[in-house]
Symmetry: C2
Subunit: 156 residues, 2 copies
Amino acid sequence: MKFEPIKHYYRTQLRWTTERKGILRCEDKPDIPVACAPEFGGHPGIWSPEDLFVGAVEVCTMTTFLWLAAMKKITIRSYESEARGTAQMSEGALRFTSIHIKVRIGILDEGDRPEIEKILQEISKWCLISKSIDSEVRIEPEIFVAVIREGNNTIL
Amino acid sequence: MKFEPIKHYYRTQLRWTTERKGILRCEDKPDIPVACAPEFGGHPGIWSPEDLFVGAVEVCTMTTFLWLAAMKKITIRSYESEARGTAQMSEGALRFTSIHIKVRIGILDEGDRPEIEKILQEISKWCLISKSIDSEVRIEPEIFVAVIREGNNTIL
């Protein structure tokens, strides 16, 4: 008996429109207008492949975090991040050499901090996109206890 | 005298909203609602990191093609593509092992076909995103001469 390995397929479609622009589609999801980045002769104000790449790493880091936190039954109040990808000449070609992600997580219980730090240290081992790229992915976490004001639920 | 290598930076921001969902931002570009993919406990109908990753490769392949075609002064009438990324277990982790892109290009002049085929054969060497990932990127081209009907400009 032969077992087939688990495979997942992801499909997108693209159509060039004009100049260095196009429309990116994925099933029934909202279309994304895309373009070549301005520094390569493209257009500002439109998602470039480089933006999408950095975004893919950043989003996968969050979804992986949410999955691991849920497995460990940790409740979080907020999660925000900023990612910066650096593309530079390396071995004769321009490529992403690093992705630096600053993550800011609001927790309810100070006691959860060590477990969250541990998750973040190991997250790139579990993140499908980080595992698929050559760039170094560096996570810089800031964890704070979210104080909920009585009456209006605001996170300080 | 020391020369600093050329570097380009790409920045995105992410905010978790609820469940396994968030909002992805990039400068003044339209926000992209994002979510964990359904097969990992997420949500359908929303761009997942895996979709963004495959899209980044597909868009970069197009923008690289448009750049190379412009350099060689080749006029094209249309460009469409379909990309399929395969994620599977490899060396103990789930990762993208291949991206297969079917590209359909309408040209004006049959004489441009060899040059376009050559560009497509070499495109992954120039595509910044393909150079940044571990997956094999395979391009399957279909090139046709776009016939313009007199009077209404329709491409057959």
